[in-house]
């Protein structure tokens, strides 16, 4: 296989707060290859956004990347090495802040944020903002950048782009603003776009349009995407490969079809069951019990065990890392961090089920097969 566009290894980002150290991203590894859309999925607070901002080295204080390695097109975005006295320091080949700003942010890796209402500056024209980023990241003159901005506005399906160029964000609808943000990202001609919940704030119909648009443009420009979302429906629609995050860790990593049909982690399973479906009433949807625990003091062993219906004694003791559990037909690896898989040899089978897990799986049994009828 060719070298990936982006390789993230054991990335760890922590927030040093008064309440304690928040392990927002805890040793995650994933890759993004050229031209693919990689999903980063999880509940709110799973660390998806922090992970994606870490890739640009834009984690806000008091957050800090403390370990791991991020390599993009062979260049080191983040990397530490051990010095003679045993402490860690930044590797010499790691890009400087100035290099990150000039050579990576915008022109190599661009972002689309969740809230199109807030992401555009209310006191500047839409066109002006777009033009500024194009000028900056592609070194074009004002005039050429302006033409390019108008071309991109047309490209993302904004009617009358010349006229709307001079308008302000408040004169655009939510969907139109999100198109502007997509135009912004594509106009800088990056190789990778991080889309952080870009459709969450939109109506479902508009969301559909935006997803179609991204699909078309992705094909046309060949740009890779990291698609951050909590919505597995969106994942199914556009992603090639998926990383499921829970409490700062990646718990399952698989090509999109395998994730849905060969689900290997109970958390992913629970996420799938909690998706609203037309054939189920609200009572029948299996929401995930409990809330995500604090990332300051995560549960021992497997972090999901307090909410897992398969949890056994071993799950409280052994902390699983994502390991290969299967290989798909086209040679892609399917990883999961769950002790139920044989590769872990953790004594899961032999250990006793946890009390809450028994209760959770009982609930499962009560559910009528096929989702027919009610309780």
């Amino acid at each position: 296989m060719t070298d990936p566009l982006l390789r993230v290894e054991n990335l760890t980002t922590q927030f040093f707060t008064e309440a304690g150290t928040v392990r927002a991203v805890d040793s995650i590894s994933f890759e993004v290859h050229e031209g693919e859309i990689v999903g980063l999925v999880g509940e709110s607070g799973a660390g998806k956004s922090v992970a994606s901002m870490s890739l640009l080295r834009l984690v806000e204080s008091p957050g800090e990347i403390v370990a791991g390695e991020i390599t993009y097109k062979g260049r080191t975005i983040f990397g530490l090495e051990e010095t003679a006295d045993g402490s860690l320091s930044e590797r010499p080949e790691m890009l400087s802040e100035e290099e990150m700003r000039r050579e990576i942010r915008g022109n190599e890796i661009a972002v689309i944020f969740q809230d199109p209402m807030e992401s555009l500056n209310p006191v500047f024209t839409v066109g002006g903002q777009l033009r500024e980023f194009i000028e900056l990241n592609r070194g074009l003159s004002k005039r050429v950048a302006r033409e390019e901005a108008i071309r991109m506005l047309r490209e993302v399906g904004i009617p009358d782009p010349e006229g709307r160029y001079e308008e302000y964000p408040h004169q655009f609808s939510g969907g139109m603003r999100q198109r502007v943000l997509i135009a912004m990202a594509l106009a800088c001609e990056p190789s990778l776009i991080i889309a952080d919940e870009p459709t969450t704030a939109l109506d479902v119909t508009v969301e559909g349009q935006i997803l179609d648009l991204v699909d078309d443009l992705q094909e046309k420009y060949g740009t890779s995407f990291i698609w951050v979302t909590h919505d597995l429906g969106v994942v199914a629609e556009i992603c090639d490969r998926v990383n499921v995050m829970y409490l700062g860790e990646i718990v399952e990593q698989a090509p999109v079809d395998d994730l849905f049909y060969e689900t290997a982690h109970p958390y992913t399973e629970a996420l799938l069951e909690s998706m609203p479906r037309p054939d189920l009433t609200v009572e029948e949807i299996q929401s995930i019990r409990g809330v995500m625990p604090s990332a300051i003091a995560p549960p021992s062993g497997c972090r999901f065990h307090p909410r897992c219906r398969y949890a056994r004694e071993a799950c409280k003791r052994v902390h699983p890392d994502p390991r290969r559990v299967a290989t798909s037909a086209d040679g892609e690896t399917h990883r999961a961090a769950c002790l139920r898989h044989d590769v872990f040899e953790s004594g899961y089978e032999a250990s006793a089920p946890l009390e809450h897990a028994t209760a959770l799986s009982d609930r499962e049994v009560e559910r009528p097969p096929g989702g027919e009828g009610g309780e």
Binding site: L56, M100, R101, I104, G106, V111, F113, E118, S119, P122
Partner: protein, 332 residues
Amino acid sequence: MRLLRYTLYRLLQAIPVLIGVTLITFVLANLAPGDPVRFMLHGQEVDEELIRTVERRYGLDRPLHERYLVYMGGVLQGDFGHSIHRNRPVLDLMLARIGPTLLLVVSAYAFALATAIPLGILAAKRRNQPEDHVSRIVALVGVSTPSFWIGIMLILLFAVTLGWLPSSGLVYPWWPPETYGHSGYGEHALETVRHLLLPMIALGTLQMATLMRVERTQMINSLQGEYVKLARAYGVPERTILRKHAFRAAQLPIITIVGLNLSTALGGAVLIEYVFNINGMGRLFLEAIQQLDYQLIMGITIVIGTMFVVGVIITDISYAYIDPRVTYGEEE
């Protein structure tokens, strides 16, 4: 075009406000105890008939509403009446005094803005660091210290003890240098500034302190905005973010406060003119009140009221220039 229409619309709205201001002042001035004619006589015993003649001459025997209408009719033609105490047209008296007051208020604001904006930005950028703490203390002292006291202390320090700056009066830049015996425009300008410095700081400190805190809060909010995050993610240099992206959106409340504090500043000017012995409108106003000089009180009230209303309108209009989200009335 839309902006022009908005401007006219706002000016029209000012008319009822000004009618209200003049009406209330007119009624209050007439309700105040004391009879101006008798006051003029300094308690001398005179013929009642003579008093009535004087009252008739000034129209003081007519009913209140009639006097108001006659007065306003004159005002619209630029006739603010005659000061009975000084025996000169009110308009002339005010024209002679408005220059120094405007010079003082405008330079106080210039001082306040020129210091508050950079200091506020610095405090926001270096939040909870020493710079921020210092600026917080400066602001607290500035807000809680009366301007006349600041004035007196400045005089004590810079005029009396150090002898660097003059303690009273202003040099009017619009008068020719020879009036003051200045050798040329260079010296004239220098002397203007030297005289202006202390009263300007004394009057401007309160505004500076308020504006600085608002600027800090606004910049902190703006710097945390999603659009700043986006600009960073697109490689915009931090300097540009501070000066352009975060800055512009943060200035709207500053404009509002400048406009609304105009009344505080004009009120403060009265005290500062007293402390620094400046012959401005404020002092004229105080004297007029002490002398129960109705015509002068009315005239100055109208002028200050108009200045305030115009200030607020300018605020609104500049708001519309800076914030594209402001609608111009006709869209709602």
